[in-house]
Every structure is written in structure tokens, then in C-alpha cells.
Amino acid sequence: ATSTTSTPQSAAVVIDAASITPQGIVGKGKNGEVPENVDALKLSAADEAKVKAGKFTAAISMNTMDIDWSRLTLQGIQTTFDSLGIKVIGVTDAKFDVQQQISDLQNLITKKPDVIISIPTDDVATAQAYKQVAAAGIKLIFIHMPAAGLTYPADYQSVVAPDNQGNGEIAAAALSKYIPKDGVAGIVDFAVDFYTTNQRTLRVKEWFADNRPDVKVKEVGFTDTNAVGPTTANFVTANPDIKGLFIIWDSPAMQSVASLRNAGVTLPITTVDLGTEDGVDMASNGYIKAIGAQRPYDQGEAEALAAANALIGNSAPAWVALPSVAVTPGNLLESYKSIFRTDAPKEIVDACKASGICGK
């Protein structure tokens, strides 16, 4: 039972990034807020001076530090804070553990920063800890989503998020091009309820329902983010009619690529988040066909600016969304540069040279 998806067919498809890029921001805020543009966060020269004079301190509480995304976000925040004279006095890593994040927040409150920027590991169970942050008179900027039950602008001063639904839409629209009429698409999803993840997967399903009602969507879940490869391979074995996969996040996608390649199965895959690994695979005309990417660095900048606004009493919008980037072989090198703020690494460039598909 080898895959029926023939390589010629996938090679034939050339996706135009523009054709899958959504118009504006697809999603709304968690509480239905209308998304605002980053421009709303620009500081005037006077404001900038005020921030610098304030000698403010900041702390950051992350859900994980083990992935590219966190590193880039931090870089964006840090560079912007540096230019504004805001000192980062603590960065914590909750390792996806809610209890740990509650402790982290308590410990950061102890250090009395003026502002905390944080992505909730879970928007519900950490809410009380964020209320303590607010109660301690510390300004609060959320990444991705606000914790449940906190009010804007009393408890928190802004949320900066990627267009998660937009990410999902890009991945779905790209995947759709590989699914023949009445074909089957597969989704490999994280099987634990998380708001942002849900947003993406939901949008993928919605998109297919709205735009490709002929396509049947099958789904498999994983709970161990480090053992996704076998799950995907077994899922595909049991469902040989699948013509393409959406896999949540880049690391699970690449673990799946390894297992599928090893099992001799070739399938187009779309995912979210650009990293070196999925970039190289895409550049070498491999499994990854399109990525609905966030701009973590830009988000970091925006978060820092939102924090600066809050610190000097300016009001920042309740919901600032950054548009998703549709990354395809055609725009891979530019996208990489715009997302990472540095040229694509040698591996991607070499792979592009070898395959010759980049920039087309």
C-alpha cells in the first residue's frame, strides 16, 4: 500500500503566495475585538523621551523557551526595549506547565517590574495569577490571547497576536490545491484544548467546509509533541486515501516528514510556523508545500511598543493583530528574511540552488 499521490502531480502545482494570502486579518479577538494594526502602537518622539526618562523595568513570562518562536519573540521585545531604555529583569519558561507559570508569575511580581509581557500557557487556569499581576499595579501585555476574566484596560493594556485564523486559512488554501475533487485531506492536530491551536485547526476545517465541500477531512490527534512521527505514519497507513496533510506546528510536521519519508510515502504537507527545518524541506521540493507563518519578531516589537505605551499611560488597542505570511517556495527567501530579520541560512539557500524551485 504505497501512496497513490504521484510526485508529478505535486510537482505540477505551483502555488502563488498571493492567491492563498487572506485579505486583511481573518480572525477576531478572543472577546470579539476588532483587530487593530501595529501602526496604532507607534510612539511619538515625545513619548519616546518619556519612556526613556521613566527608567522602566519589564519581565517576560513565556509558555516555553524550547522553540524558535520564543527566541524570535524575545529578540523582538529585547531589541525594542533596548532602544527605549527599558530593562528586562526576568524571563521565565513555564515548559507548558500551568502550575509552573503560576509560580513564575508570582516570582516575577516579587521583583516588581513595571510591566509584564506574557503568553498564557492556558487562558483559564492562569487567570488568577494574572489578576495578581494587575492587582500588584504591574502593567500587563498579553501575547496571543488574554487570560479569561481579565478586563481591558483595567487589568491588561493590550493583546498582540498573530492572525491565527489567517495561518489556518493559508495552510488550508494551499493544501486544497493538492486535493483532487472528492479527495481526502488529513489533519494532524494537538489533541489537547488550547485556544490558539484551536483557532488554526478550526479555520482549516471551516475553510474546507466553505470552499471545498467536496473534500472529506480526516483527523488524528497527538498528545506527545515529541512522538508525532509514528502517529502520522500510522494514520496515513490506515487511511491510504489521504492526498495531503495539514500538521499543526513545524516540529511535528518535520517529525512526520521523517517518518513518512522513511516509510516511502510521499504526501504534500502544509503547516504553520516557519523554521530552518521546514524551510529546508520546502526549498528542496520536499513534503512541505506551504506555511502559514507568524511574524514572531515583529510581534515582539509590537509587544514591546504596547508595553511602552502602557507604561506612559497611553492607551494601546485591546487587540493588535499581525497578518500571517503565506510562505511558499516562490517567496521563501524573502519571507525568511522578513520574518527572521536575517538572511536565510546557508542550508536553505543551498537547497534552493539545488532544486531551483525558489523564487518561481
Binding site: D97, K111, V124, G149, D193
Partner: protein, 324 residues
């Protein structure tokens, strides 16, 4: 009495304990004190009232579960399921208060009951089917986690019961956070039960020499099952202290809790081979772990480096302390 029997009887006690022995015997406490002094100098925030309260709150879960785990390990058993059962207990209390009656006591009882049931199953399967508890509780780890995830299809469940939040989460008593009060109460009860009660003696006997204990009429099976039940009940209580501050329960909580708890217990001088240990030592072990977590964050150490340092401290603390 002649010279020979006299000499047999008047053997020197274990050859005059030296200073080194003393340090080894009490090394957990010395290590704890050293950590406290170190962090007090390293971070100006460490010794603030607020931070001390934080440490108390943050170590409550591990300390309370570790008291139960001490019973289990002194019995020469182990319980790897505590993390998953912790999540399931939380779900149970939240669901009961959401769908049955929003009464704090009922929620509390639900959490403890689930803990007790899993503790009982762990113990029962261990003693009756003769499966090593390592495997029984490894299996239960999966079962409890699976049920917790399944029950709401992985979604968290909210709690809204102010009394519950007061009792298990947010109030203070004599200036101490309620979680600290609960910890102290459990530790005190643990000390009495393990070191002063008949049951405690039987725990030591069962872990120290199960066959001899059986020959002497100790019901070792009951002792083992009871220890698992105690641990289950304490896991239930610990889950209340979490849901009491989080105002919600999540099915994916507590993964890896077992390793922190077991580390605390062994750091505290309990022998993994059973038959030996004290509750106060276990509390010290739990505090060492809690204080490392807290102090390293206050110092701004990055999380990768934190992992390295914590690993080294665990090894060092045990290697310098009394053997086993």
C-alpha cells in the same frame, strides 16, 4: 555473670559518632540552610515576606504529595501516577461543582474520593496481583490521564465558588497563606502517623523486612494499600489547593509531578529500598526543590541553565548526605 557474657552485652554503641557522621545525617537540613543563605545574598527579593509566602505556596503541592509518597516509598513501593491523578482529581471537583451542586465540600470530597479510589486501585493491584508498583502506577498514570482528557474532551472546567477559593486558595491564617497552613497540618499529621502510630511502625516493618513483618502478624498487604490510599487522598487535597487558586481545572496538569515528589522524598533521606526515612526530612527535601525553582528565577538564570544547576544540586545534596 562472668566476663564473657558481660563483654558480649556491653558492646560499644556504633563506635562514637564522629562530626562527619553528624553532617551526613543532617545534610538535607544543612543543604537547605546553605541554599537559603546563598539566595538571600544572591537576590534582594529572596527574603521578602512576599517571596517567602510565594515559596510556601509554590511548594505546597510537592510537600503534601511527598508526605504520602514517603509512606509509599518507606513501604518499598513507588507511585508514578500522582501527576495524572492530580489532574483527574481537579477535574472531578470542578465537574461536580459545575454539574451537581456548587458546594465547596462536595467538590473537595470528589477530589479526595478520586484520589482515594486510584490509591486503592494502585495498592490493590500491587499486592493482590503481585505486579511491581512501578508498573502498576505507570499503567495508572496512563489510565488517569486518559480519563482526565476524555471526560471533557480535553477542555478545562471553570469553578466559581468563593468559599472553595477561600478554603483552598486565597485566604491567609495567622498571616500565612492557606496553602502553607494546609502543608503544615499535613506534615504534622504525617509526623504523628509515621513516627508515633502503630500504623507507622508497620509501614517501617513492611518496608524493612516484609517477610519478617508478615511472620510477626503484620498485615503487610493492608499496610501497603493504606499507604497508597493516603497518597491518593493527599493528591486529592493538593489538587484542591491548585484549583482553589486557578479557579479552574485542566486535564493536562501535573505531568512530571511524580519526579519532583520522588526527588523531594529521596533528597529528604527516605531509602528507595524501603524501611527508612522521616517526614521532616521529606519536607526539607521538598523545600530544597521549591527554593531552587524560586531562587534561580529570582536570579534571572535562564531555564536551560536552571535545569543543569538543579540536576547538579540534586546529585550533590544526596551524595554528601547519608548513604542510600
Amino acid at each position: 555473670m562472668n566476663a564473657i557474657s558481660a563483654s558480649a552485652a556491653t558492646k560499644p554503641r556504633f563506635g562514637g559518632r564522629s562530626g562527619g557522621d553528624f553532617i551526613r545525617e543532617y545534610f538535607v537540613y544543612i543543604a537547605l540552610a546553605a541554599l537559603i543563605v546563598f539566595f538571600a545574598f544572591a537576590s534582594p527579593y529572596f527574603m521578602t515576606t512576599q517571596n517567602v509566602a510565594n515559596i510556601g505556596r509554590q511548594t505546597a503541592t510537592v510537600s503534601i504529595v511527598a508526605v504520602g509518597m514517603a509512606f509509599v516509598i518507606i513501604n518499598a513501593q513507588i507511585d508514578l501516577s500522582v501527576g495524572s491523578v492530580f489532574a483527574l482529581c481537579g477535574m472531578a471537583s470542578a465537574l461536580v461543582m459545575q454539574y451537581v451542586v456548587n458546594f465547596w465540600l462536595l467538590g473537595a470530597l470528589a477530589a479526595v474520593a478520586v484520589g482515594v479510589v486510584f490509591g486503592f486501585l494502585n495498592g490493590l493491584v500491587t499486592v493482590k496481583l503481585g505486579v511491581p508498583s512501578f508498573l502498576v502506577t505507570l499503567g495508572m498514570l496512563g489510565v488517569a490521564r486518559g480519563i482526565a482528557l476524555l471526560i471533557t474532551d480535553t477542555k478545562p472546567v471553570l469553578i466559581s465558588n468563593p468559599t472553595y477559593f477561600q478554603i483552598f486558595g486565597e485566604s491567609t491564617f495567622l498571616g500565612l497563606p492557606i496553602a502553607v497552613i494546609w502543608t503544615l497540618v499535613i506534615v504534622a499529621i504525617g509526623v504523628v502517623v509515621l513516627h508515633k502510630s502503630i500504623f507507622g511502625l508497620r509501614v517501617f516493618a513492611t518496608g524493612g523486612n516484609p517477610q519478617a513483618a508478615r511472620f510477626t502478624g503484620v498485615n503487610t498487604q493492608r499496610t501497603i494499600i493504606s499507604s497508597f490510599v493516603i497518597t491518593g487522598a493527599l493528591v486529592g487535597l493538593a489538587s484542591l489547593l491548585f484549583t482553589g487558586i486557578a479557579h479552574a481545572a485542566r486535564p493536562d496538569l501535573g505531568s512530571g509531578l511524580e519526579l519532583d515528589v520522588i526527588a523531594a522524598v529521596i533528597l529528604g533521606g527516605v531509602s528507595l529500598f524501603g524501611g527508612r526515612g522521616t517526614i521532616i526530612g521529606v519536607l526539607a527535601g521538598s523545600l530544597i526543590i521549591g527554593i531552587m525553582n524560586n531562587g534561580l528565577v529570582l536570579m534571572g538564570v535562564s531555564s536551560s541553565v536552571q535545569q543543569i544547576i538543579k540536576g547538579i544540586i540534586i546529585i550533590a545534596a544526596v551524595s554528601l548526605s547519608k548513604k542510600r
